[in-house]
């Protein structure tokens, strides 16, 4: 042990670094994400209480108010996304979500055609430790039913009619076609999806959101 005492501090530090470096050589690869632990009970509770859902009307309100504290993510294919998407949304797929630039402290709203894909993505993100992940309830189907092509029965009460007036306004904002009454309209397939030009308010929203700068 005598030789050890004669070493200067610098030499000892260098030796420590060398030892740690050698350990690193045989330690194997560092943790790079990909494997996560989940609290299944917590997740089950959230699913059970539906606190991870955002309704179509609520989302429509956010978009109209030009809220920028959330990110809306469309999980359908690029082709479908280009045909129609909810204003302010960004497109990525379930597999690409892994590397998609979203932060764990961001509020994220997911949607797909129905609810299955977004629910799967929700689970993946929750497992990876993303806290503020939400699903658009009913997906794009419900968005169509409630916002783009809302419908009211002919025998609706006064209150229902009053509420429908408001929905009509919202629907028009998104380029939808509200319908009143008969069941025949239901089978009418000729109702066109709104043109994507409707995205204008959306475009502003996305450009207004600054990309976070990182690095030095």
């Amino acid at each position: 042990m005598k030789w050890n005492i004669q070493w200067t501090l610098n030499k000892r530090l260098a030796a420590t670094a060398l030892c740690l470096g050698f350990l690193a050589l045989i330690a194997g690869n560092p943790h790079e994400g990909g494997r996560y632990e989940i609290d299944s009970r917590e997740l089950a509770l959230i699913v059970d209480k539906e606190i991870d859902h955002v309704g179509a009307l609520e989302l429509a309100d956010w978009i109209i108010q030009n809220k920028a504290d959330y990110r809306l993510i469309d999980l359908r294919s690029e082709k479908e996304f280009n045909e129609y998407n909810i204003p302010t949304s960004e497109n990525t797929t379930l597999t690409a979500l892994e590397t998609y630039p979203i932060l764990r402290n961001e509020k994220i709203v997911l949607y797909s055609d129905g609810g299955i894909h977004s629910a799967q993505a929700w689970f993946l993100l929750r497992a990876k430790g993303y806290k503020g992940v939400y699903i658009l309830r009913g997906g794009l189907e419900e968005w169509k039913d409630q916002i783009l092509f809302p419908r009211i029965a002919e025998n609706a009460t006064k209150e229902e009619l009053a509420a429908f007036e408001r929905i009509k306004e919202i629907s028009k904002f998104f380029g939808g076609t509200p319908q009143t009454g008969s069941n025949e309209a239901k089978s009418d397939v000729s109702i066109a999806m709104p043109k994507l030009e409707m995205k204008t308010p959306a475009k502003q929203g996305t450009t207004a959101r600054k990309k976070k700068k990182e690095g030095c």
Binding site: A14, A17, L20, G21, A24, L25, R104, N105, G215
Partner: protein, 200 residues
């Protein structure tokens, strides 16, 4: 507990600014204490008479590298979330040369000039003035350089990916390089001191 803390949502943007402030103060303090507030000391490394800059920087790199490696190896740090600057090979080589030339001429790098400025060195204040003038000038002429600025992009690539080696191998290699550089630096300093003694 998992890092990076900010990306795991442990604190918000406001707190992150406070954290950055505290870390920045610490960084500046230790740069000053290492003697990096003096343009003479910094420039001395280019004459091989005082290699402190190389030694301090390499120590910092090795310490941080070992820390990051073992923290992520133990699962405390998610390396995939640590930001890696994208590489643009040619423009970054050109930029590195420019910075080096400025370093030799002015005696400071951008960080150390701020440190030296805080201790009241006038040369450092002029240097910082130069930095700002350069930034403004660059802003105006940027359109001329734009194509070059974005040329040879390689994405956010790391050395283990580029050379297809394991992280551990790279860590060990860098430690070896650092220790080698220390030995060389000490040897060089001794040689230069002897030469100086002989001249006197």
């Amino acid at each position: 507990m998992n890092g990076p803390f900010y990306k795991y949502g442990m604190f918000n943007e406001e707190i992150s600014l406070i954290v950055a402030f505290v870390i920045g103060i610490g960084f500046g303090f230790f740069l000053e204490r290492a003697g990096f507030g003096s343009g003479r000391k910094l420039a001395a490394q280019f004459y091989f008479t005082d290699m402190s800059v190389l030694k301090v920087m390499f120590s910092a790199i090795v310490t941080a590298m070992l820390g990051v490696f073992f923290l992520s190896w133990m699962g405390f740090l998610d390396l995939s979330l640590v930001y890696v600057n994208p590489t643009f090979l040619l423009p970054q080589i050109a930029g590195g040369l420019l910075l080096g030339i400025g370093f030799v001429i002015g005696g400071y790098c951008p960080g150390t000039s701020a440190v030296a400025c805080s201790t009241g060195r006038i040369d450092a204040m002029v240097y910082i003035g130069g930095i700002f003038a350069g930034i403004f000038l660059f802003g105006f002429v940027f359109p001329l350089f734009k194509d070059f600025y974005y040329s040879t992009p390689m994405g956010s690539i790391t050395l283990p990916q580029l050379f297809n080696i394991s992280y551990g191998t790279l860590v060990f290699t860098v430690v070896l390089m650092a220790v080698g550089a220390f030995v060389m630096a000490e040897w060089g300093e001794k040689k230069m001191a002897q030469k100086k003694g002989a001249e006197l």
